[in-house]
Amino acid sequence: MVKVAIYPPNSLVLGDLIERKGHTVLALQKAMSQKVRDPEIDSPPMNITEEDPLKGLKYAAIEVPSGVRGRMAVIGPLIDDAEAAIIIDDAPIGFGCVGCARTNELAMFCLRKKNIPKLEISYPTNRDETFDMVNKINAFLDSLSEEGGN
């Protein structure tokens, strides 16, 4: 069982495909869940405290906007834990809770520079490309199982 980081980090399709193959998906929702369900919420409603931009300093310099550092405080540890990664380029879902373009760039850069097995594909725009994406992801996940996570 391999810990697989995904981008976009809250993708339904990627998360589901990875779990079907028995791997652990490093999804953003799980990290957020720990934050927002903490019994001692210091800063309601979301428990984003001044500690978060400080934690983000590990990934981004002090000149970088605090929003990027705050997001990286949640996404960064997921990237650190990753043993493999699947990145979808040009995903039209880079908004909402992952709506910061600079954070997206930084997180993808951190994933690309890590020395782990990576699969980088484009977001499908038609049926054939969707088939290709699913088959490639499944083949990649099978190869991870064969390698035993190395």
Binding site: V36, P39, K118, N135
Partner: protein
Amino acid sequence: MSANLSMSPKLSAEESDPDYAIRMIILGPKANVSENQIVNRMHLLDLPLTVKWTCYGAMVSGKKEYVEEAVKEVRKLDPYNIFTKSRGFPPGDPRRCRGHRYGPREGFHQMEKEYQILGDVGDALKHPKEVYVERPKPVPVNDLVNIVNEVIEKEDSEES
């Protein structure tokens, strides 16, 4: 008077437990089961879970082991067209629930976009094809030196 969109949650002891899991069960557009069937199926499992019937399928929450068991059982109803995703906020949490904060919740837009390809994803899972995934490898040093020498020679010949 404007609405309070940043209200404090009143979480129960169970919801604050680190072992508590929340799952969204999403039916693809080609699913052969209805939301009603999957909700009934989960209730019939007789597990200590909270099950919520939603427009996209169902939301289930409770102890992690029970949630995983319920998801595994529900998937058997239509393995290629039932998708699941974990969720950060408990069901009905005022910070996310539509009933309290008006308009769609943030995650709706992403789910709406991904729902458009779920039918094809289900078909691809049903009819898998073998593909070759090439992993990028660094260029060997000797090849790199040869390429650099070639480029330098080409530039020199163009200058002279």
